[in-house]
C-alpha cells in the first residue's frame, strides 16, 4: 500500500495553500480546476505523498455538499495502484461498494475510482492508477 495523496476540503483555496506552504513547508506543484466537476484543486508535495486541497466552485457538488454538511477538513485518502481495473475487481469481489462503476480521469490526468466510505470504515477512499 502506498498513500498517493490525502484530500482536504477547504473553503478558501489560496489561504489553505499559504498555510501549508508557509507553516509546513509544503511545495505547491500545480493547480487545476474542472468546471464540469465544479472543483478547484491545488496539489502540494508532502514527502512521497501529496496533499490535495479541494475547493468547490459551486454548492451543488460533492465537495460543496461535504463543506455544507461537515465543514472543512479531511475529505479522502487516495491509494496508488498499478492496475485500477484489477483493484476495482478485487474490491468488488471483497464486497465493497464502488462509487465509480468504471475508472474516470481525475484532476491528475490519471485513472481514478472512488470506494464508498461505508465500505471502508467511514473513509472515502480513492484508487489512483500510477
Amino acid at each position: 500500500m502506498r498513500i498517493h495523496h490525502v484530500g482536504v476540503a477547504v473553503a478558501d483555496l489560496d489561504a489553505a495553500i499559504q498555510l501549508y506552504t508557509d507553516l509546513f513547508g509544503a511545495e505547491l506543484m500545480h493547480r487545476a480546476s474542472n468546471e464540469a466537476d465544479g472543483l478547484a484543486a491545488a496539489f502540494l508535495r508532502a514527502g512521497g505523498a501529496e496533499v490535495e486541497l479541494l475547493s468547490p466552485l459551486r454548492e451543488d457538488t460533492p465537495v460543496g455538499k461535504f463543506l455544507a454538511k461537515r465543514g472543512p477538513g479531511l475529505h479522502h485518502i487516495a491509494v496508488a495502484v498499478h492496475d485500477i481495473d484489477k483493484a476495482m475487481a478485487d474490491a468488488r469481489a471483497a464486497g465493497l461498494e464502488l462509487i465509480d462503476a468504471e475508472p474516470r480521469i481525475g484532476l491528475h490526468g490519471t485513472r481514478i475510482a472512488f470506494i464508498h466510505p461505508k465500505s471502508v470504515g467511514g473513509v472515502l477512499t480513492e484508487f489512483v492508477e500510477t
Copy 2:
C-alpha cells in the same frame, strides 16, 4: 513537508487491520495501546507514510468522543518535523492554537504535539519529531 501518517478512527481494530492488509496490501508493522490515554492503535506501512488505525478503549477519550460524534473515519494527519520545539514555536508565532502546550511522547515513542483543527482548516494536525 512530509506526511508521517494519517490517523483513522475505527470501531473494530481487527476488522480494520484485515481490510487494509487484505485489500490495500498494507503491511502491519506493530500494535500498541496506552491505558492512560484509553487508546489502542495499529501502525501500517503505506509507502513512505503510515496509516495509524485508532480504536478507543473507553468512550470518555478523545477518539471515543470522536467516534460517538462523527462516526469512524479520517481523524488526523501527522507531519514529520526535525525539531518539534521549533515547529511549535513557529506555529504559535503564526497564530495557531496548539492543543499540547509541550511535546509529549506518542505511541510511536517519539515526541508529538497536536495543533487545534480550527487553526488548520478543520484538520486535526500532529507534529511528529523524527
